[in-house]
Symmetry: C2
Subunit: 156 residues, 2 copies
Amino acid sequence: MTTIANVQWALRLQAEFDHSIPLTRAIGVRVTNYDGKLLELSAPLAPNVNDKGTAFGGSISCLLTLAAWGVVWIACARAKVPCDIVIHKGNITYNKPVQVDLHAVCPIPPRAQMQKFIKRLKKKGRARIGLRSELVAEGDIMTLFECQYAAFFAKE
Amino acid sequence: MTTIANVQWALRLQAEFDHSIPLTRAIGVRVTNYDGKLLELSAPLAPNVNDKGTAFGGSISCLLTLAAWGVVWIACARAKVPCDIVIHKGNITYNKPVQVDLHAVCPIPPRAQMQKFIKRLKKKGRARIGLRSELVAEGDIMTLFECQYAAFFAKE
């Protein structure tokens, strides 16, 4: 749902990208939707083009990585758990070339799974979570990224 | 071996990155070694930093993707086979955070495997090849990317 709170989380994540990860500016990453069910990041094709005039695989990988990272970042920030979030591993499959602007969607895992993740993070100081983010265009999944993130509670 | 021919291939690949994939300029990708046995790409940490002051996972993924792509690009160019080279899929494992400038190394597969790939590409108009590229620092593999590329012979 597009609530004021959700829009504020989207704006905070955008500020985090702009401030802390300079390459996101070169890619042109925009947080274009966060409704509590999914996070969507977008980027124009032009700065992310390759030698074939389609989207550079590395740019797609960046956007999918950031979308999954953003889902965990918002979840931890909402739960007021200050922590470092790092990618552990990922499998990427490029199904089709992308000839349009980029839209990466990462669905937020079910509430029970998120609660378990946050509970473990608070108790153990670290927790892992699996995510699936998708580069979508024309109703198709052009690229699929299945990944695992780890969060480390910053105790200081 | 650092021969004049190998240095020329490195320079051509650098020109291809600079000309055809604009994001490589933002990342600061440099072709730093091509000796016929491996291809090494490097990038400074500063433009590729994340919120933790270490290398952004997306930047690492880009550099590893480009290193593997570069190995196939040089192999096809050397064999005088004009073709499109696209990544099909990849598995990435981030072992340790990277706190220094980035160096991605992709070993060139054994001669027999490369010859088989080029032969198939010429005969069938398409061929696939598996590669393994590594982000190395302090003698360790910080990130490992195992990937598969496809090449399509441009018949026109």
